[in-house]
């Protein structure tokens, strides 16, 4: 069995926290620049130009793209044939501590959701998502998640009879209600099926999927395209000042569900959709 020292995980997580927050992923840049080229509304063009200028400044001067450097969401795909020496959880948290402290990133995590809400001062604990996969590698993705957009996310247990129209109407309703709050242009992650919690997890995973990648099943890929068109016909536009570019992409993830159920979760991400991956 392959062995990995937990210290290696710490180093990778620390590096990914810094890089994800400073250097916007290529797929997101490409999508924003493509939308700028198609945007007909002058004020929206101006906002998109500033957004592009902003991520270029961050890239060049090694600073955070957005001051909300998020809760550190860390996705681990751990091969069944690999053994990690030491605590994986501790190693990830040490990486977050190191990355957020040494990288001059904002610490946005409070100890308790109620009461004193005392800042933990190092952005730990990370939100860790474990997955066991075949093989002997460890794939680590860090996706810092800002809360301006997280707060606009919703979940609903639809009736089976609501069907595809019910799902689509719910997604569009969530985006319209959010309006300017989540820093449009947004990325819309949708999880359909599973249980209450699995739907939310799929929606979260959907927002870190490359923006140009469509659902493998044509039915859902078509739904992604239709939803993007409906959302971009709402007129909310960049920052909510009006315009075409309300969403950059709609990514749907699906899984089997109960005969009686149709869970739908919508996780919204801002234009600073951050994710960086390394494989150990």
């Amino acid at each position: 069995m392959r062995e990995i020292d937990s210290k290696q995980i710490t180093d990778v997580v620390a590096r990914l926290c810094v890089n994800a927050n400073r250097h916007l992923a290529g797929d997101v840049r490409k999508c924003i620049e493509g939308c700028r080229a198609c945007e007909p509304w002058p004020i929206a063009q101006e906002i998109l130009d500033r957004i592009i200028e902003n991520y270029n400044i961050a890239d060049r001067t090694e600073m955070a793209i957005c001051q909300d450097t998020g809760l550190a969401c860390v996705f681990l795909e751990i091969g069944q044939d690999v053994h990690v020496n030491g605590s994986i959880e501790d190693a990830v948290n040490e990486g977050v501590r190191k990355g957020y402290t040494e990288g001059f990133l904002r610490k946005s995590c409070v100890e308790e959701p109620l009461g004193a809400r005392k800042n933990t001062l190092d952005n730990t604990p990370a939100m860790i998502y474990y997955e066991l996969v075949p093989g002997d590698q460890v794939k680590i993705t860090v996706a810092p998640k800002g809360f301006g957009s997280e707060n606009m996310s919703q979940i609903k247990m639809l009736k089976v009879s609501d069907g595809a129209e019910g799902v689509k109407d719910f997604v569009v309703k969530v985006v319209e209600e959010a309006g300017p709050n989540p820093c449009p242009p947004i990325v819309v992650g949708v999880g359909i099926g599973g249980t209450f919690d699995k739907a939310a997890l799929m929606a979260k995973k959907a927002i870190i999927r490359p923006l140009e990648e469509r659902h493998p099943v044509k039915y859902y890929a078509d739904m992604e395209a239709e939803l993007l068109e409906r959302i971009n016909a709402l007129g909310i536009g960049p920052q909510g000042f009006g315009g075409r570019t309300t969403a950059l992409a709609v990514n749907i993830e699906t899984m089997p569900t109960h005969i009686a159920g149709l869970p739908v979760a919508v996780n919204i991400n801002c234009h600073v959709t951050r994710h960086k991956t390394e494989v150990l």
Binding site: N54, A64, D68, R106, S108, G148, G179, G235, G240
Partner: protein, 186 residues
């Protein structure tokens, strides 16, 4: 359209001349504050105690900046979502606050107070924290240091770009901007 230059302090009379949709460049001293600092300020007001800053004719920027790298005034510093301050803003506007910089919708109680007292809600570009940080020349914590990024800071800014979202007459760019765009799509 040429942006309008504003230098703080901002009087209610000047605030009332600004119109929804105006582009502005803000210079001078402004103060930062977000959820936790607003809560404390309003608790002091409720108890009749003095606040650590005088908000009369001032602008509050809803921001929790990221830490400054050595040699820099501040880290990334874009606006946070404003509706979380809706519970507190009317009380501060009553105390003479004439400007708020944030992003996102505001509630009716805030807009009523703005109309009554002469206060403007500016939008800075959410997520453009690196760009906006270049306009901040100096930053010092003036209250609630224990709140870390949420502490109240006194900022000296030069040509900070913003847009008047809601003016002192209650006209709202989020409503008419979207409607105007949709009219062109009919």
């Amino acid at each position: 359209m040429e942006p309008i230059r504003i230098t703080t302090p901002l009087t209610p009379e000047k605030a009332r001349t600004l119109k929804s949709g105006d582009s502005v460049l803000i210079s001078g001293v402004i103060y930062t504050g977000r959820d936790a600092a607003h809560k404390r300020l309003c608790e002091l007001l409720k108890e009749g105690k003095p606040m650590p800053i005088d908000v009369k004719n001032q602008i509050i920027y809803f921001v929790g900046p990221s830490p400054a790298k050595p040699g820099m005034a501040i880290g990334s510093a874009g606006p946070t979502t404003s509706y979380r301050m809706d519970a507190y803003s009317p009380a501060l506007i009553e105390q003479g606050l004439t400007g708020m910089i944030g992003k996102g919708k505001r509630g009716p109680a805030v807009i009523d107070a703005m109309k009554k007292c002469g206060c403007v809600y500016f939008g800075a570009i959410g997520g453009a924290g690196a760009l906006l940080s270049k306009c901040i020349k100096k930053a010092e914590v003036v209250a609630y240091e224990d709140l870390q990024s949420e502490a109240i800071r006194r900022l000296e800014v030069k040509d900070l770009p913003a847009t008047v979202i809601i003016d002192a007459e209650g006209r709202n760019l989020y409503e008419w901007g979207r409607a105007d765009y949709l009219k062109t799509q009919e």
